[in-house]
Symmetry: C2
Subunit: 315 residues, 2 copies
């Protein structure tokens, strides 16, 4: 008989939920407003309501599922089922797993940080499904990530680890949001790429990139579009890829994972990003080709990574 799991992707605006089978197929999914203003227990009640509605839609009850998993923003102590601190939910020390278990007839409930849970989703059912160990790096407004070793998340004490954007790679370099200077995030986020693109345009009024109209039109795609024809764009792109490679080689040397996964909007560039990046990683990794190669893959689950990863917390 098939096994079913409820996956919940908890966000500041919406709660997304789904019923997932052991093969990572989403049988049904739906979403409901989070209603943060109702407080922690109010949001838990909304999660329970969504879970019950999903079950009913399939003629199932809580007895028919293995449990419910949640990916949540914030610092999550997964051992204790506790949201230690979640800024954008306004929560501190909310034992959400106990509360949801109580609301859902004693069902088993597990939780993890959303970035970590998305990495787990990719390892169980996404781009790294043929592997057991992966480091996932998401290049967005910031740089986030998750670490999976032997199919299990490495979350750190009280879930405070895996802050993979916050390793200094350029001591004394660009200011980072975390207070330090020169973090990986300050060079490899989409925000950093856009910052450097704008700087190059300002410094070079003759850059073809000005064809886009104004600095406001710059996005993470701009330098990729213009690198083939504009030396200033190429310079920004080369530097971006070199810094990104620097951080990835650091992670390759620390974890020597079976694969590194990249997520986030910049990955839409596909081979234009991955091919030069892989070349640098292969060249700079510790002990060169004496150790196993670390392939760089693009994450593929996109919006469903959170939901599938949450379900995978119970597998």
């Amino acid at each position: 008989m098939a096994k079913y799991y409820i996956g919940i992707d908890l966000g500041g605006t919406f709660i997304k939920g789904g019923i997932v089978n052991e093969n990572g197929e989403i049988i049904v999914s739906d979403k409901t407003p989070t209603e943060v203003e109702k407080g922690d227990k109010g949001v838990a009640a909304n999660i329970a309501k969504l879970a019950n509605a999903l079950l009913e839609s399939q003629g199932l009850t809580t007895n028919d599922v293995e449990g419910l998993g949640i990916g949540s923003p914030g610092m999550i102590d997964s051992n204790e089922g506790n949201v230690v601190y979640a800024n954008n939910l306004g929560w501190e020390n909310f034992r959400i797993c106990d509360e949801l278990s109580r609301l859902l007839g004693g069902i088993k409930v597990k939780i993890g940080n959303d970035a970590n849970v998305a990495a787990l989703g990719e390892v169980k059912f996404g781009a790294a499904r043929n592997y057991n160990s992966a480091v996932m790096i998401t290049l967005g407004t910031g740089v986030g990530g998750g670490i999976v070793i032997d199919g299990k998340l490495v979350e750190g004490n009280m879930g405070a680890g895996a802050e993979l954007g916050h390793i200094v790679i350029v001591r004394g370099g660009e200011q980072c949001s975390c207070g330090r200077r020169g973090c990986f995030e300050a060079y490899s986020s989409a925000t950093a790429l856009i910052r450097e693109t704008k700087c190059a345009m300002v410094a070079h009024p003759d850059s073809s990139m000005w064809e886009i109209g104004s600095l406001d039109a710059v996005n993470g795609k701009t330098v990729f579009d213009y690198a083939p024809v504009d030396p200033y764009a190429k310079e920004v792109l080369d530097s971006y890829i070199e810094h990104l490679a620097c951080g990835l080689v650091n992670y390759a040397n620390i974890f020597r994972p079976e694969v590194i996964l990249l997520g986030g909007g910049v990955c839409a560039q596909g081979d234009n990003l991955i091919v030069p990046l892989q070349k640098l990683v292969d060249k700079e990794i510790y002990a060169g080709d004496k150790g196993p190669r670390v392939p760089i893959l693009i994450a593929e689950l996109e919006n469903s990574a959170g939901l599938l990863g949450a379900a995978a917390l119970l597998m």
Copy 2:
């Protein structure tokens, strides 16, 4: 009844071995020349001979022990019991566990990289014995380390991970032995500290450090001795501690371990090293005091870490 384990610390010159009980007490220990020139099987025979002698000395046989663990230099695939590559033994792909099990009446044999195994020893029986998760950094000629999560080693694919000295913290900085520039090792090893001390002396003929006589007399203690009276020594020491803190905060943000352990000769400086280091780590760690603190402790097992950690591979 007490449980017994054989621990082996395999080096290029000597094989050290001991019988250890489940409390990490060394019942008996001894050593024998490695005799690398006899080749992989010859060295394995020497290990088996030492193990048998240790057992006999206590009136025990292979039936009385839970197994034998080895800490070995090189890249070790612990899952396969294989020494993938060990430069200073001259070995490639030697399935040492199978060979030793055959020589020792089918006994269970496990192996790990020596730096990793020493970290495991410290977590099971040393400075981190009250913790389950620790990152250990050894400040020697180079910078090595080990990662223990939930009481188990994180070794990476084919044992090629945990190269903790080889993360770039200063892009384009000092040349590292691994080929990259600006690695943690190039700033935090005893070698780096001695290099910077000599540079400061050469740059400042008025430095009190010249009291030691010549550059050849410089060691890892010099700047600690002179920092209270010589501004040049203090500058070198402050910079050393800042770079060391930079790398430790990186590891704190990645793993948020329960503790960070420091090993190596520089640690003999005790509080002169740890107090300013801890202050910087507390200040720079991600999210400040919102997350759990990461105390920095000095490793305490010294030469027996390898032997105890090797035994702990079976616990």
